[in-house]
Assembly symmetry: C3
Homo-oligomer: 294 residues x 3
């Protein structure tokens, strides 16, 4: 898979560039730069429609170095249009989900162009998650800070163990978590986001659930089981129906109510006309299990 | 009341078409189509300023068929401008608040125009609730799914019994709950909405309260009492003051802060100048009960 | 300080008029009107970078009369650009944090221009808090109603004792809390805001925390200690880094995701280039305490 991923990551698939809901992603992409060769910092496995991407650099607290970001981006983009892919899970090895950017890449030994590439690549990935045709689930077991917390906030669904915690501590080292604040400010109430951003202090998994950063918290020993349960459920559904719904959801979310209903009503009519739409409705009426053609 | 409602529903009152906050509703209305005659699927009662609309087709799980939607629309629109109407409560007969659209209306035995009318009529009602001059309260005792969940999410206030639950399960039958997602995505955090939409699984009343879908949860035996307490409180207030405030609230909610304060400050000045505004302030200063002229 | 404040309050500092994130504040300012002399209704103390502003008119339940609003505005604006100021705490004397506007100023004995000045000045202060270069914390110990509740909702961070409560009861006296609704509607879920606005009933500190109006609730005896702990933490950080981050956070919050990430990525690059940005990163890598130059 690795070779395919490398060749692929450079341009991104058609739906990313021309998708009706995501016309912007392309303009934000790094300009065809091919990632430098090196050890892969993520590991990937796909089975029964579920792709598991694991941040695999626990010694460096899964820091989102540029190389790690490129690995993650490739893994998310790889064969994104394949019917065999139904859902993505992002998790991590070791006690730290991710500590955010690699600070060694942000000293003035590198020029501002390099710094810009780091932040833009990271932002691209966060937008890519929303623009991706299948749901992306964060499975968190440990500490997620700065851009690591941003990654959790950017996923469609986030499940965490009760020992997990979340922080945006950049301010402590003179680097305010402004890009994490984009995702955080869209996930939790403003006051919660600002207290986290201004003080850098962590919140617990329970607080994160309370405030909307997570959709579910479970004991550590049930984390994988519960996440897989959700993933298997999604993998059992019609992929084009889920894709259509995901795209419309994000598209309408910030429109005014009239526009939003106009878009969503049209989406429903289109959905009803899909082969899987008719199959599902008829199966329900006939009290049988639907057979998706995807 | 039934006859008046039918004649009325076709066009809608002036405030809906030309109201300063709701200029859009008209363009979205179905084009003057008169609902077919048939048994009424809702029942209505109005007393002391409180209109109770009850979804009354429990055998069909109060499905929001086109006929049910038209009944509900008529009941909401009926004499909306009357001074005698202060607040609306929407509830349901039987263990299911509403199961959403009638799937038999969504097969390909009906043409896409018909499907479009179903979704547009439903969307109109959801917008109508926001644009209505009086507060609309959902009183939920049971399961609310798909467009039924959307109806709860669209009301201004929602009170539920602790045995109630809420889901957007369309994805299970190949019909993603895109229009319910419009209301849900504006009521609960994004991750909660997406987990509901992607998995179709229900959340409990307590979870719904935690996440903002409900404003209050009470034991089943207190549901009516608590809802009526809120309704009676609203019915005791000045109708034009409440109307002005409701319209301004929704109008400013998505404006930038400067515009929002400009609008709201002007609304306050207008409110102070209302007869009931001056009466209320003077009554307070004189330590007496205000007498509203409405 | 008082003299300086009075002279100062009339125009506001440059950053308020021309700041890149806050170009609008000026156009909304009252036109250079100098506050009438009179007893000061607030008291101010500044130490170690922490400015404490106390609403000090408990006999009048700390009503936000025009004079009180002007005092508060002066205290917030005073030497806002000084490097010595790192964070502001707004609290109150007595059992009522603030009861909102002084109703005696809103009768028809005053003309609509006067009413407009009251609401505009109040709105200016709420926007000023967001546009201010340093974080503003509300420390609440008691009842905050109407514009008093709006003030809490407008601060960046809000800490309250568990005996505090919050309400927007204007509707009871025929004056819907439309301007408080601007801040409330941006802090809590819509249904919570509307139930508060339509019924006028208070919510507890715990409910306020649950719904996002507060960032933290503590027992009364720990209120000052906990608030000071947060304030001291912020005061220990780099002021330009915090200012840059605060401005970018509010600026991006309502942009579409692509614009938001573009702005935030640029902010990160600028932040890395700040002297304190480089100092912080290097200190972290070198495992020493950073020394901010501000």
């Amino acid at each position: 898979m690795a070779v395919g991923l490398r060749a692929f990551g450079a341009k991104g698939p058609g739906w990313l560039r021309r998708g009706p809901w995501a016309p912007f992603a392309a303009s934000f992409c790094s300009q065809g730069r091919v990632p430098e060769p090196g050890p892969r910092l993520t590991s990937v496995r796909q089975r029964d429609g579920i792709r598991s991407i694991v941040l695999s650099n626990p010694k460096k607290r899964n820091a989102l170095s540029l190389a790690m970001l490129k690995s993650l981006q490739s893994d998310i983009l790889h064969e994104a249009e394949s019917q065999d892919l139904k859902v993505i899970i992002i998790s991590a090895e070791g006690p730290v989900f991710s500590s955010g950017h690699d600070l060694k890449e942000l000293t003035d030994e590198r020029d501002p162009q390099y710094h810009a590439e780091v932040f833009q690549t990271c932002s691209e990935i966060m937008m890519l998650i929303q623009n991706h045709p299948v749901p992306v689930i964060a499975m968190v077991n440990g500490l997620a800070t700065a851009a690591g917390c941003q990654l959790v906030a950017s996923c469609d669904i986030a499940v965490a163990s009760d020992k997990s915690s979340f922080a945006t501590p950049g301010v402590n080292i003179g680097l305010f978590c402004s890009t994490p604040g984009v995702a955080l400010g869209r996930a939790v109430p403003r006051k919660v986001a600002l207290e986290m951003l201004f003080t850098g202090e962590p919140i617990s998994a329970q607080e994160a659930l309370l405030h909307g950063l997570l959709s579910r918290v479970v004991p550590e020993e049930q984390l994988e089981e519960e996440t897989m349960r959700i993933a298997r459920k999604i993998a059992s559904l019609s992929r084009p129906v889920v894709s259509l719904g995901k795209a419309a959801f994000y598209k309408q979310l910030h429109q005014d109510l009239r526009k939003a209903y106009h878009l969503a009503s049209q989406t429903m009519v289109d959905n009803v006309a899909l082969r899987d739409g008719q199959e599902g409705i008829k199966a329900f009426i006939q009290k049988r299990k639907p057979v998706w053609s995807h």
